[in-house]
Subunit: 370 residues, 2 copies
Amino acid sequence: MAVSFTVTKKDSAGQARLGLLHTPHGTVETPVFMPVGTQATVKTMTPEEVRQVGGRIILSNTYHLYLRPGQELIREAGGLHRFMNWGGPILTDSGGFQVFSLGPLCKVTEEGVTFRSHIDGSEHFFSPEKAMEVQMALGSDIAMVFDECAPYPCSREYVLEALERTGRWARRCRAVHRREDQGVFGIVQGGTFADLREKSAGELVELDFSGYAIGGLSVGEPKELMYEMLDYTVPLLPADKPRYLMGVGSPDCLVEGVARGIDMFDCVLPTRLARNGTVLTRHGKLVVRNAEYVRDFAPFDRDCSCYACQNYSRAYVRHLIKTNEILGVRLTTIHNLHFILELMKELREAVSEGNILAYRDSFLKRYQGA
Amino acid sequence: MAVSFTVTKKDSAGQARLGLLHTPHGTVETPVFMPVGTQATVKTMTPEEVRQVGGRIILSNTYHLYLRPGQELIREAGGLHRFMNWGGPILTDSGGFQVFSLGPLCKVTEEGVTFRSHIDGSEHFFSPEKAMEVQMALGSDIAMVFDECAPYPCSREYVLEALERTGRWARRCRAVHRREDQGVFGIVQGGTFADLREKSAGELVELDFSGYAIGGLSVGEPKELMYEMLDYTVPLLPADKPRYLMGVGSPDCLVEGVARGIDMFDCVLPTRLARNGTVLTRHGKLVVRNAEYVRDFAPFDRDCSCYACQNYSRAYVRHLIKTNEILGVRLTTIHNLHFILELMKELREAVSEGNILAYRDSFLKRYQGA
């Protein structure tokens, strides 16, 4: 099997666990956060810098790469790893989330989705078969099935319809996938309806994927409801397969997710916040572009060991951001990814030491300033 | 003296020479090219990367730093070196060139120049005294006198008027300068009039500056005319002081300048071209954003040892540039600065080996495709 998973420790009190995710491009310790490299680059960073801040597996986007530069070009380049010079594992999403996010620009049938490019308005068609074809051309370590992520709030009827289609599409993905050096993950949908989560999980587990993602959360619902859904859904998934919570990356949600047994996360949040001039710290967010930091010669966070905090002041980074200098967003991006990846390391240590719940409480107290 | 200069070798055939420029932040081998860090950052790069590609002394802009973030803030930060985390020498221009480039937005009197900010239109006043005050606050290793660079073409009368004012202003700069850890360079003007160059040089040499810049060239005149002016002006300058040709950085002009006895250069060309998706090679320019490179999996230049050429293809960089990904301009910038700084190294070797003229001919033949 191209991708396999070993659970190395299970928390005695809850679902939290440590694991090793084995891929054709190396083994990764879990729980893990995957920095997002939408267009075959983690925005602003070199692969060496991603690794330097602790990145071990990244996510890239099938929809974006299909449009530009096109999967055939990447295949010719020797695959996505070689094209972008990243030697570690890569997970590609299926493009489903992006295509459905186009809203009125996309039209769904049983066969697939017709959509218009956000770049030039040209018409395209994605089906489960197409999504797999593109991901096979990219050569990622882990491909995701083509799914429909229902929005929130959403009627039970629509969620049911979408998850049934997602189940049929998952089967079609399975049927056409034929890269032995690539794992495939299923995606559990079902919105915020516990019984629909159960139905979706049941259908997918039958197909025996390399791992299981929980989709359709972190799409606008209250966080408490997301946690409730995790509590309900995680036990429905096979204990020997990795569990991936899609699109989640705020510090509090990562902590809560790990405590609830999630092994993998991805999110644009740390890199997007960085480009808006906001940095994450243990004491919450700091909007470094704000005027209050104009003469603040301290680093973002005195206790942080990242390159940005070791060498530059808030005042300097604020100057760079106000003058649109690229180094500014490079430094905030380095800091934010370093912060999230250090947090993941501490979470793994907490699980290892059997005190994830105490760690969670102490982290949240400080982070939320409670 | 804060800044001094040692000539270590003189070419037997021409004016070319090797030297050591000693500054409070270290000694630099000349001839040297100074990457431009307009707003306290060499665009897209960390200081470590600037050093990695061979940068040893950088230039920063008084006009820009005066407007944002302001020299007093930089003084509070501990000076420009500390603010931007660059431990090597820094030369600051005087702001004169930028202020006069504002055209109708600037008004000149004997006292100084009233101008409007290009950012918000606010009114400001720069005088020789103000230009020195700002540069003393920044704490650069080398400050430049406040001068007027006449455009090309320009009447003899105007050039004469401008250079006479520049001479009086140079005297005023000298009078108010009082940082012992900062050298001051004079700027020879005179446009393309040999006798005016002589007049300007004579006045400045009397003031005994740490070095002498040749201003007012590379402002639109034919290159041959620039070379002629260099041939005429260089012998007018003291042989034991560094000679700095301002605003010059195209490969052919660097080669010709070194052959004519120039010790220092600066130019935004390599970094600006990079941001436009153009890279410099020994065989001329390569516009990597062009469609012809879409499936070109070779590096910019097979013989180049820079980080970009060692790890990435033209096709990948083109993709990054077309999708506005920051890593694209980072890679073209790294390559272009590396190219220029390697060229300077080869020029120093050629002078050292006594064959600068042969090197020039062979370089130009290949570069210009002749």
